[in-house]
C-alpha cells in the first residue's frame, strides 16, 4: 500500500438532509472531503469495536469519560444515547495525535530524531513516498493505535531512524528522550541487536573501520568523564546543604536572597584576589619606612583609624616609586645584596591598572549575569496568562517539610483568590470619585516619600557640617572623644537607612496599591532613591573636601577611613535590624499577642541592603585596596547570621514573588545605579582630581591619569618602533568622537531589536489565529463524522 494520503471526493447528498448543523459553506458543491477516509475508518471501526469490548475488561483506564460539559467540541451528548458510533468517535478523539504525542513511544522517538537531525544539520528524513506506514504523528491518523501490528511497525520504523544516526548522537539522543529507564535499556538492546545483523548494515551510515569505532569510543568516554566531573563539581559547591535546607523550608523566593549574597561574595573574592596578587602582596614585601607606628587599641576595628592608618588597608601606605629597582638606592642606606634576577615593579602603574582591571572584569561579569538571567526570565508575549501560569507553575516541589507545605498551600490559595478578585474588580471598574480618591492618595504618598528623601539629605548635610566643627573642637580632647566624633556621621546615615524602609512599609499599607507586584516595585524604588541620593551627597562631600577631611594632608587615606567606617557601621546596623526586626518581633508575637504567625522575611529590603553595602565597597576600592577583603568577611558572617535568624524567627512571605524575574531586577539594579555610579565616581577621581602631595602612589602628579600618559611617553622614548601605541590613548580614549560613535552603534542595535520584537509579536498573533482556525476545522470534522454515524444508524 503506497497510496498518497489526499483523496478528493464528492460528499453524498443525503448527509445534509437532517439540517441539524447549518454550515456557512455550500456543501452540495464539489470540494475535497474525507468521505472515503471516513468509509475506511468505519470498516476498520467495526473490527475495532470488538477489540475495544474485549479490552474494556482488561484496561479500565482506556475507557474514555464523556467530555466535560465545558468542552466545546460540539459533541454535546444527549443523555441515554449511547450508540456505538458515539463511543467510536470518542475513541478516535482519544487517539488524535495531539492527545497521544506525550505517551506514544514511536511518536516521542520520531520527534526527538527530527530535532536531533535538524540540530546536527544532517539531510532530511526519507520522503513520504518511500514510507508505507510511518510513525510520524502527522500521518498517524490513518490507523487506530489499537492495531498491534501497526504499533510494532511504527516502533521498527523509529528504530531504523535511530540506527541511521552515528553512535555518539544516538547515545546523546537516548539520554535526552523522555522515556523510562527500562524502555531506554530495551531500546539500546534492540539497537545493538539490529546493528549486529548484516542485512541492515547497508542502511547505517557509520563505516565499519576500526578508526571510526575508536573515535566513537573516545568521544563516549570523554562525555562520560565530563558528566562525572560536572556531578562532582555540583556537590562540591559551597553551602550546598545550607541552601538546600533553606529552599526546603522557605521555597525559591527566600532562596534567591541567599543566591544573590553568594554571587556578591564571589565577585568580592575575585576583586580581592586580583588586588592581593598585584598590589597588596608586593607592597607588603617591600614596606616603606613608617614614621612612628601608633599603639594598637581595640577601637581600630570600628573606626579604621589609629594604628590602621599607616597600614596596607589604605592608599597612603603605597609607595610612588618602582619597587626593587636596581638603579635606585634605598632611603635607609642599606644596599640589598645583588640577586640573580632583579624584577623592578612600577607600583603606581600597577595600582591604577589593577583597579581598572578589577572594575572592567566586574563589569563584564555583571553584564554576563544580566544577559543570562534576562534571557531566562523574559519571553516575547509573556505578559498575559497570569492565572494559568500561577496554577501550573506555582507549586514549588523543593519544599519538603510538612508545615511549610501547608503554608505554601495557604499562600497559593490566598494568591489565587486575590487574582480572581482583582479580575472581578477589573471587569467592573471604579466610579469616578473613587478613582480620584485613589489617585490623590497615591500622589500624597509619593510626595511624602520624596519629601522624606529630601529631608534626610538636608539632615545629613547639616549634620556632617556640625560634626566637622565638633571634630575640630575635639582635636584637643581624648582619643575616645576623637574616635567617637568620627563615628557619628556613619551612625546617623545607617540609622536613616534602617528606619526609613519601615516608614515606607507603613506608607504602602496606607496607600493600598492595586496589585502586590506594584507594591514591591514602589517599595524598591523609594528605598533605592533614598540610599542613592544620600550616597551621592556623601560622594560630593568627599571629592570637594570642603567639609570632610579638609584639614588632612593625606585626604585619600581619610576618605578611605570614612568608607571603612561606613561599611562597618552598615554591618552593625544590619545585625541590630535582624535582632530587633526578627528576633524581638517574633518574641513579641509569641508571648504577648499569642499568635502562631512569625514575622515574614522581607526579601526586597534585605537585598537592597546588600546592594548598598556593595556600592560602598566599590566606591572605596581606590582609597582602601583591602576593602573587598572586609566585605568578604562581612558577607560570610552575614550569611550565617541571616540563615540562623531565618530558621529560628521567620516564615516565608505570603505575597507572590516571581523569583527569577526579581533576581533579574536585582542584578540590573546592582549594575545600573550601583556599579555604574561607583565606576563614574572612580573614573572622575582618576581623571580630574589632584592627588595629595605627600602620600600615596600618585604624589606630586597633576592627576592619577597622568601616570598612564607618562608611561606611554616613556615607552615611546625607549623604543621608537612602537610609537603607534601612543595613538590608542590619544585618539580612542581622549577623543569624544569615538564615544559618540559607540553610542550611535548601541542605539542602532537597540532600535533594530525593538523592530524584531514587534515582528515576532505579529507572527505570534497570526499563528494563534491559525491554530484557532484549525480547532474550528477539527470541530467541524467531528460533527460531520457524528452526523454520518447517526445517519447510518437511522438507515440500519
Amino acid at each position: 500500500m503506497s497510496r498518497l494520503p489526499t483523496v478528493t471526493l464528492r460528499v453524498p447528498e443525503n448527509t445534509e438532509s437532517d439540517g441539524r448543523e447549518p454550515s456557512p459553506d455550500n456543501e452540495g458543491a464539489l470540494h475535497s472531503s474525507f468521505c472515503q477516509l471516513i468509509e475506511e475508518q468505519s470498516s476498520l471501526v467495526a473490527g475495532a469495536i470488538e477489540m475495544e469490548l474485549q479490552e474494556r475488561g482488561r484496561e479500565p483506564s482506556a475507557l474514555l469519560p464523556p467530555p466535560h460539559p465545558m468542552a466545546t467540541t460540539g459533541l454535546e451528548p444527549e443523555q441515554g444515547e449511547q450508540h456505538p458510533g458515539y463511543a467510536t468517535t470518542l475513541r478516535i478523539l482519544a487517539n488524535m495525535p495531539s492527545r497521544t504525542i506525550g505517551r506514544s513511544r514511536g511518536a516521542i522517538l520520531s520527534q526527538y530524531y527530527n530535532r536531533t537531525a535538524r540540530l546536527r544539520r544532517r539531510s532530511s528524513r526519507p520522503s513520504l513516498q518511500q514510507l508505507s506506514l510511518t510513525a510520524r504523528s502527522s500521518l498517524r491518523h490513518y490507523d487506530l493505535e489499537s492495531d498491534p501490528a501497526h504499533s510494532t511497525l511504527a516502533d521498527k520504523q523509529s528504530l531504523l531512524e535511530l540506527l541511521s544516526l552515528p553512535p555518539a548522537q544516538r547515545s546523546h539522543m537516548l539520554l535526552e528522550v523522555p522515556l523510562s529507564l527500562e524502555e531506554k535499556r530495551s531500546l539500546r538492546r534492540q539497537l545493538s541487536q539490529k546493528r549486529s545483523t548484516p542485512g541492515l548494515r547497508a542502511h547505517s551510515a557509520d563505516p565499519t573501520s576500526p578508526c571510526a569505532w575508536c573515535q566513537d569510543c573516545i568521544v563516549l568516554g570523554c562525555r562520560t568523564f565530563w558528566y562525572r566531573f560536572l556531578a562532582l563539581v555540583h556537590t562540591a559547591q559551597p553551602w550546598h546543604y545550607a541552601l538546600k535546607q533553606i529552599g526546603g523550608r522557605f521555597g525559591s523566593s527566600v532562596l534567591s536572597y541567599f543566591l544573590f549574597l553568594k554571587m556578591l561574595l564571589m565577585l568580592n573574592i575575585f576583586s580581592f584576589l586580583l588586588l592581593l596578587v598585584f598590589v597588596v602582596a608586593l607592597q607588603a614585601a617591600y614596606p616603606p619606612a613608617v614614621a612612628s607606628p601608633r599603639p594598637f587599641t581595640g577601637l581600630e576595628f570600628l573606626t579604621g583609624a589609629g594604628s590602621f592608618t599607616h597600614s596596607l588597608l589604605y592608599y597612603g601606605y603605597y609607595s610612588n616609586t618602582t619597587l626593587n629597582d636596581p638603579s635606585a638606592s634605598s632611603p635607609s642606606g642599606n644596599t640589598s645584596p645583588p640577586r640573580a634576577t632583579q624584577l623592578p615593579y612600577n607600583m603606581p602603574l600597577a595600582y591604577v591598572f589593577t583597579i581598572g582591571a578589577s572594575f572592567f572584569a566586574t563589569c563584564i561579569l555583571l553584564m554576563y549575569s544580566i544577559y543570562h538571567s534576562f534571557g531566562k526570565s523574559y519571553h516575547v508575549g509573556s505578559s498575559t496568562g497570569v492565572l494559568a501560569i500561577k496554577v501550573f507553575c506555582a507549586w514549588d516541589f523543593k519544599v519538603v517539610q510538612r508545615r511549610s507545605v501547608k503554608l505554601q498551600s495557604e499562600n497559593i490559595c490566598t494568591q489565587l483568590k486575590e487574582l480572581l478578585a482583582e479580575q472581578r474588580l477589573r471587569s467592573c471598574p471604579l466610579s469616578l470619585p473613587q478613582r480620584l480618591r485613589h489617585i490623590t492618595v497615591l500622589l500624597l504618598a509619593w510626595l511624602l516619600a520624596l519629601g522624606t528623601v529630601l529631608g534626610c539629605v538636608v539632615a545629613v548635610h547639616y549634620f556632617s557640617e556640625h560634626m566637622h566643627v565638633q571634630e575640630q573642637g575635639a582635636a584637643a580632647g581624648s582619643a575616645w572623644q576623637q574616635e567617637g566624633v568620627l563615628l557619628a556621621l556613619p551612625l546617623i546615615v545607617s540609622l536613616l537607612n534602617t528606619l526609613m524602609p519601615h516608614f515606607y512599609n507603613l506608607l504602602a499599607a496606607w496607600e493600598k496599591q492595586d496589585s502586590p507586584g506594584a507594591e514591591v516595585y514602589v517599595a524598591i524604588c523609594r528605598n533605592l532613591l533614598l540610599k542613592m541620593v544620600v550616597l551621592g551627597l556623601l560622594c560630593y562631600q568627599w571629592l570637594s573636601r570642603r567639609v570632610v577631611c579638609s584639614a588632612k594632608e593625606c585626604w585619600e587615606t581619610c576618605v578611605g577611613q570614612d568608607l571603612y567606617r561606613f561599611v562597618v557601621m552598615d554591618f552593625i546596623f544590619t545585625l541590630l535590624d535582624t535582632g530587633f526586626g526578627e528576633l524581638l518581633w517574633r518574641l513579641i508575637l509569641e508571648k504577648k499577642l499569642k499568635s502562631k504567625q512569625k514575622p515574614e522575611f522581607d526579601i526586597a529590603r534585605n537585598v537592597l541592603e546588600l546592594i548598598y553595602g556593595q556600592t560602598l565597597t566599590w566606591l572605596g576600592v581606590l582609597f582602601a585596596p583591602l576593602l573587598p577583603a572586609v566585605q568578604v568577611l562581612k558577607l560570610l558572617l552575614l550569611f550565617y547570621i541571616k540563615k540562623t535568624s531565618l530558621m529560628q524567627n521567620c516564615q516565608s512571605p505570603s505575597k507572590p514573588w516571581q523569583a527569577s524575574h526579581m533576581s533579574t531586577v536585582f542584578i540590573t539594579l546592582l549594575f545600573f545605579p550601583s556599579f555604574l555610579g561607583a565606576a563614574v565616581f572612580v573614573s572622575y577621581t582618576i581623571w580630574s582630581v589632584k592627588p595629595s602631595e605627600t602620600c600615596g602612589p600618585f604624589q606630586g602628579l597633576q592627576t592619577i591619569y597622568q601616570t598612564l600618559k607618562v608611561w606611554v611617553e616613556l615607552l615611546e622614548e625607549s623604543n621608537p618602533n612602537i610609537a603607534w601605541f601612543s595613538w590608542i590613548p590619544q585618539y580612542l580614549v581622549e577623543n569624544t568622537i569615538f564615544l559618540f560613535f559607540l553610542t550611535g552603534v548601541v542605539l542602532a542595535i537597540i532600535y533594530l531589536n525593538i523592530h524584531v520584537l514587534r515582528g515576532q509579536h505579529r507572527i505570534i498573533r497570526l499563528l494563534e489565529e491559525q491554530i484557532a482556525n484549525e480547532g474550528e476545522d477539527k470541530r467541524f470534522l467531528i460533527r460531520k463524522i457524528r452526523s454520518i454515524y447517526e445517519h447510518k444508524e437511522h438507515c440500519a
Partner: protein, 144 residues
C-alpha cells in the same frame, strides 16, 4: 532503598514527602505491571533524574503534564484542572475555593491557555504556557 529487584510501595514513599502530588508522581513514574504504583529502583532514578537540575524544560514539562493529567486521557480538561487546584490549595475546608471561584478560575485558565478552543489543554498548549514562566524549571525540582 534496596536493589533493583526490590519494590518501593507507595505508602513508604509517602513518609518522605508531604507533597500533595505524591500519588500522581508514583503513578506516572511507576512501570510495574501490577498497577499498584510501586516503584523499582530504575523508576526512582527516573523520578530523580526528571526532578534534577540537569533535566531540560522540555522533559520537565512533559512529565508535569502527565502528573497533572489526573484521568490519564492525554489532555487537561476541566475536571483535571479542578482536581489540580484542590491539590494546590490543600485539603482543609477553609482553604478551598468556592464553586463560583473555581468555575471562574477554570474558565480563565482555559481561556488563557486553550489556543485551538476545544475546551482542553493538550501537551503543546501546556508547554506553551510553561515556556512563558521562567520559574517553572527552578520550582519543578527536588534537591537531594
Amino acid at each position: 532503598m534496596g536493589g533493583s529487584s526490590s519494590l518501593l510501595p507507595q505508602e513508604a514513599l509517602g513518609e518522605y514527602q508531604a507533597n500533595p502530588f505524591q500519588h500522581r508522581i508514583c503513578h506516572v513514574f511507576s512501570t510495574s505491571e501490577d498497577g499498584d504504583d510501586s516503584m523499582s529502583f530504575e523508576d526512582f532514578l527516573d523520578m530523580l533524574s526528571v526532578f534534577s537540575d540537569a533535566a531540560t524544560s522540555d522533559i520537565k514539562s512533559r512529565y508535569a503534564f502527565r502528573i497533572f493529567d489526573f484521568d490519564d486521557d492525554g489532555v487537561l480538561d476541566g475536571k483535571d484542572l479542578e482536581k489540580l487546584v484542590n491539590c494546590l490549595t490543600g485539603q482543609g475546608e477553609e482553604a478551598r475555593l468556592s464553586s463560583i471561584e473555581m468555575e471562574q478560575l477554570i474558565r480563565n485558565v482555559l481561556e488563557e491557555s486553550d489556543i485551538d478552543k476545544d475546551g482542553t489543554i493538550n501537551l503543546s498548549e501546556f508547554q506553551h504556557v510553561i515556556s512563558r514562566s521562567p520559574d517553572f524549571v527552578s520550582s519543578f525540582k527536588i534537591v537531594l
